[in-house]
């Protein structure tokens, strides 16, 4: 069963990555070219049909995979690059700084992510980047808390005490001992946050707080679809989102089980 999780995860996320990579060099049609064929049926050459403007759905889906990956990478990178150092710092016992950071993280955590997205979109224009940044910022506390908690566990180990006694600089302890030890957990968190970011972006797209229509994204395709007259044009990007989110979720779970079966089966 554990292997199955990993395999399904690999297939799901692999499909997304593959679609994104192929779309860099080839798509069946120009994804932003309008044609006279509105709501073309799901037949050759438009195998997934066309949308209201006559743009090829399959091509847009493939290019949309790029955006999907971009959202995940950007959001997780922001959250991890800011959250993890802060968490490790606090976890290693910087008292005053730690207290201030903890309170800052509290405020950030209490600020609804949606608000950040609305504000960023209103201030800088709604785009995939602003949506990803908002999701990333909102995810900082998750990484910060995770890193802090696991750092605390690591810090109580004997070899850390030994290093401290022998006068090893704090920064060296952080890089040599703490980070490598908490890395697997953070990796699992990253995979989970990756899929959550994809889902969050779809939600923001539905509210009009992400990519403009000219940029093919799955969330946007779903939002613009007419569910009642052309259900397939909604179902196709919907399924794509489910596959991607599930893929990365299961990938994270699978890798974690593979690395350390003792770890809890929860993110």
């Amino acid at each position: 069963m554990k292997k199955l999780t990993l395999v399904i995860g690999l297939i799901g996320s692999g499909l997304v990555v593959l679609a994104a990579l192929v779309s860099l060099v080839w798509t069946p049609f120009d994804p932003s070219k309008v044609s006279g064929i509105r709501y073309g049926s799901l037949t050759w050459p438009h195998i997934l049909g066309t949308d209201a403007l006559g743009m090829d759905t399959a091509s847009r889906l493939m290019v949309g995979a790029q955006t999907t990956l971009l959202v995940g990478i950007l959001a997780v990178a922001i959250a991890a690059l800011i959250g993890v150092p802060l968490g490790v710092f606090v976890g290693m016992g910087h008292k005053t700084l730690g207290e201030i950071l903890a309170r800052g993280s509290d405020i950030l955590y209490a600020l609804p992510a949606l608000l950040l997205a609305i504000l960023l979109a209103s201030a800088l224009g709604s785009s995939v980047t602003t949506a990803s940044i908002a999701i990333g910022i909102a995810t900082i506390p998750v990484f910060q808390r995770m890193a802090r908690a696991s750092t605390l566990t690591v810090m109580s180990q004997d070899y850390i005490l030994a290093a401290q006694v022998s006068g090893t600089p704090t920064s060296v302890i952080a890089l040599r001992h703490v980070l490598p030890n908490i890395a697997p957990l953070l990796g699992v968190q990253a995979a989970a946050s990756f899929s959550m970011a994809i889902l969050a972006e779809a939600g923001l797209a539905y509210l009009g707080l992400s990519a403009p229509k000219t940029v093919p994204t799955w969330g946007r395709m779903l939002r613009d679809a007419n569910f009642l007259t052309q259900p397939m044009q909604a179902v196709i990007p919907g399924i794509a989102i489910v596959i991607a989110v599930m893929g990365f979720n299961l990938l994270g779970d699978g890798v974690r089980d593979y690395l350390d079966p003792r770890l809890q089966e929860v993110r």
Binding site: T214, N226, L228
Partner: protein
């Protein structure tokens, strides 16, 4: 453990509520008309806020005007049962209907009319203020007669008095923002923020009373939600269909009536005429040649919506079809660009997020790419659009519907966001407005033609009036000639 106990309790509550819901039938007392519209106003103070949603709900239904526009674009008496115009076309004398009274019981007298007109002359809402700019003086001759003197003859003024600017307020009205008071067949009842505005029947209405005890305007922004509310029987009228593709779902004539008319809304691809590249007529012509407007309407608005070609709509008396001025011809467009020596043209298309804009922008970006113009589309929330595009002119092209009647005047204002400064047009429009009434139409046609030939903008199409009513609802106007969603003529069989 504890939390699951809470869960059980909650489930029981919901279960009970469901059982109750199965047992009770809705009371068949009040006769209610429920209309779905897309935009919720942020305030009802129309002297300040120019949102079209305010007159959409209140004009004619709650607030009345001296004269009214019917669905065919003709001026009809309302609070004034007649009016005279002086031979020099400067003085309009309105004879008020002596029966007319406000919902509060106070009579609609000359003082109220004078006060309202003066309020509009000083209104922060620039549209209203500029429509009243031509007024020199307002006098109450007696309790039922009001004389308005203009600074110069205007073919526009009386016409504008049929719309928002002509509203006569109840003098007792103190809170324009949340408690409007007028003389219409319905009175403002309540506003549930985020949900609806409810009007109730004005029992003491001075004319033909409203046919419903209650009219509810529901705010449903999402097109899918509007369609499902209509399909599931929650609405009597879907007042604005912002997903025209869905009209096919209402083809069963025994259950629904689909109304397709026109509005005053020109969907304009606006150019920033102060930009170096766009100052060049050849570039503007090339853009117009590069866009297949019929295909655009077909793709973006399911083919509903007429092509116009200038800033006039089919219900304007001076309308003529100028849509063939720059027909779709990509080869010609390329040629024009080449002759003008323009290469690698890149334009920012910055649009407010409205139901029709993203599709139109995507379509235009694709077609302009075919003639070698790169278009960068950016979607802005309305607040930012107003700030950056509208106020500061920070854009190359934009798309928005101009819903006010006779808004061709905006092209005569060089400070308007199009930054269009054409003395020839300004002169022509001024003389058309001040022309003798028999010369009005031909002079206006000339003005509209100047705009079209100068490619001052690209007029994509007229926003259609797409309405679905359930079976049994009658009297919905076909064309939206004012900003009002007029429910005063609507009745139902059951």
């Amino acid at each position: 453990m504890k939390s699951s106990r809470i869960g059980v309790v909650a489930a029981l509550i919901v279960g009970m509520a469901l059982i109750i819901s199965g047992c009770t039938t809705p009371p068949a007392d009040a006769k209610t008309l429920t209309v779905g519209i897309t935009v919720e106003p942020t305030t009802l103070d129309l002297t300040t806020d120019s949102t079209a949603a305010i007159p959409q709900i209140l004009l004619y239904n709650v607030y009345e005007t001296l004269v009214k526009m019917d669905s065919q674009g003709r001026i009809k008496p309302l609070l004034a049962d007649s009016y005279d115009v002086s031979p020099d076309w400067l003085t309009y004398t309105f004879h008020l209907d002596t029966k007319a009274k406000f919902a509060s019981g106070a009579p609609v007298n000359a003082d109220a009319v004078v006060a309202s007109i003066n309020t509009m002359r000083e209104a922060p809402n620039q549209t209203l203020k500029s429509q009243m700019a031509v007024v020199a003086d307002v006098q109450a001759r007696d309790q039922a007669t009001v004389a308005v003197t203009l600074k110069e003859p205007s073919n526009f003024w009386l016409y504008s008095m049929t719309d928002t600017v002509g509203i006569i307020f109840d003098p007792a009205l103190t809170d324009l923002a949340t408690a409007p008071m007028g003389s219409g067949p319905y009175a403002f009842e309540s506003w549930v923020s985020g949900d609806s505005i409810t009007l109730t029947k004005n029992e003491s209405y001075w004319g033909t009373p409203g046919r419903f005890d209650e009219v509810v305007f529901r705010f449903i922004a999402d097109p899918n939600a509007m369609v499902s509310a209509m399909l599931s029987g929650d609405l009597d009228i879907a007042g604005e269909m912002t997903s025209p593709d869905s009209l096919e779902l209402f083809s069963d004539a025994s259950k629904y009536t689909v109304i397709e008319g026109t509005t005053n809304g020109e969907i304009v691809l606006g150019f920033n005429n102060s930009r170096e590249t766009l100052k060049d007529l050849a570039v503007r012509q090339a853009i117009c040649h590069a866009i297949d407007r019929q295909a655009l309407v077909d793709a973006v608005w399911a083919g509903k919506g007429q092509l116009i070609g200038s800033m006039a709509v089919p219900t304007d008396p001076y309308y003529e079809d100028l849509s063939a001025t720059y027909p779709y011809d990509p080869a010609k467009a390329k040629e024009l660009l080449e002759e003008a020596g323009v290469t690698n043209l890149s334009l920012d298309l910055r649009i407010p997020t409205l139901p029709y804009t993203p599709g139109a922008a995507t379509f235009i970006a694709s077609q302009l790419a075919d003639v070698g113009i790169t278009v960068k589309v950016e979607e802005l929330d309305f607040g930012r659009w107003i700030d950056e595009v509208y106020s500061n002119g920070d854009y190359d092209m934009t798309i928005v519907a101009h819903v006010e009647a006779r808004d061709i005047v905006n092209f005569a204002n060089p400070d308007y966001y199009w930054r269009y400064d054409n003395p020839e047009f300004q002169k022509q429009l001024a003389s058309a407005i001040a022309a003798s009434p028999d010369q009005f139409v031909p002079e206006m046609k000339k003005a509209a033609t100047i705009l079209a030939e100068d490619a001052a903008a690209d007029w994509l199409f007229v926003f259609p009036n797409l309405i679905v009513t359930r079976e049994g609802i009658n009297g919905v106007g076909e064309n939206m000639t004012s900003l009002s969603f007029d429910v005063t003529t609507i009745s139902s069989k059951d």
